[in-house]
Symmetry: C2
Subunit: 242 residues, 2 copies
């Protein structure tokens, strides 16, 4: 619907959720002479996930870190992604092998999006993720606060189940852009489990509005970044005699 | 308050949360001639966590799997835990290096407690954890459904934010004991962030009641198991001539 060509790499090797959330469970990966092909999901999104490679739900992936890095490398190099405007990579929480592999394998990445809940406990973990990205010289797009407050659909009473506002505080403390807060909405879980788009299915809801604002901020970040990269490389070309 | 001697090993190396939840941040580990000593928290609980070993919140732990296994081994062997009735081990979600290390290092473990949310997406991940434990021959104590439904504190309306009942279905499908459902309660997040006991601070709440029932079921499991282990070893002694 956006007109973009989008790929999604589900880099959560032990708990791949993307196929379920896109209604693509049980799909198979086509393999041809140039390599393997991502499965094509709703709106033409190209998806690669460990879930497509496992025989059943009861198949756990029992691999230590270095093997996981090998798999992630294959997901990037052995799959024929085709031309893409965006490659979104879903990572498990924490600063383990999966984010480390991604950051080392794609040094030219535009940036990492950090998702937190408003709770202080979640923020402690997320602070480490910010420090991790900085140490690996990965730019940070910004922080999203998920599960931010809840409004009772019957009486309109606001209950901040996991608190509210902690994401903004964290972003300010860490000098990182704040991308927005997504309120709790039971329809998000419904849509995800059903493999449907929450935003397209619930356009007037506050959570859908929050998602759209966040998308706009990420698009703006990428646009500004690609302009600055282009002007830097122009300058580079002028400075370096051939 | 239970009279038990309890140890907690926070085996979430990348996102250690236990010290925050027990009000023990900034504690240090004492080192003596026999080894290092766990920090002593509320109610005499002995705690070991990566959090005590990091200089600041901004210190990410950038280690691949095999190094993590080494650290977990040290947590178990180089720390003087003293006599314990229970050693609780908190693991990150998924079937990665941390649970693999724990299950390999403690083959005589009484069992793994599996926590899910009611959403189908969460259940897919948790199914793998059950298969993982079985493959590694770790007994499964049972399944807990966390974030199970929400009741508006003003109007009493029930909103099943992340659905409800999926944990029981999962337990039945996998032929595993169901230990109970914990409803969403904003006081749980408040208490955790504040380092206070939710159960002791909110004894009449439905969530506290759910926690107490789960504790009773786990106690019963451990009692039955230790009885059966004892009778097995008695039989063993009779059968094997010396």
């Amino acid at each position: 619907t956006s007109g973009y060509q989008v790929g999604v790499l589900d880099a959560d090797i032990h708990g791949p959720c993307i196929p379920k959330m896109l209604g693509m469970r049980g799909e198979e990966v086509a393999v041809g002479p140039p390599g393997a092909f991502p499965a094509v999901g709703p709106y033409g999104v190209r998806v690669v996930s460990m879930d497509f490679l496992l025989q059943s739900d009861d198949t756990p992936v029992i691999w230590r870190g270095p093997i996981k890095m090998g798999v992630i490398r294959q997901f990037l190099s052995d799959f024929v992604w085709g031309p893409l405007d965006f490659l979104l990579i879903d990572l498990p929480p924490g600063t383990g092998d999966e984010p480390l592999s991604i950051m080392q394998l794609i040094p030219e990445m535009d940036g990492a999006i950090i998702v937190t809940t408003p709770s202080e406990t979640s923020q402690i973990v997320v602070k480490k993720a910010i420090a991790f990205a900085r140490q690996l010289k990965t730019p940070i797009v910004g922080v999203i606060e998920n599960m931010s407050g809840f409004i009772c659909p019957r009486c309109g009473f606001q209950v901040d189940i996991f608190k509210r506002g902690g994401g903004l505080t964290l972003a300010q403390e860490a000098s990182v852009r704040f991308l927005g807060s997504i309120p709790i909405d039971p329809s998000i879980c419904e849509a995800s489990d059903g493999g449907a788009s929450f935003i397209l299915g619930n356009p007037p809801s506050p959570a859908a509005k929050a998602f759209r604002e966040i998308v706009a901020r990420v698009e703006e970040y990428v646009r500004l970044r690609s302009e600055s990269v282009r002007s830097e490389s122009d300058t580079g070309a002028e400075e370096r005699p051939k």
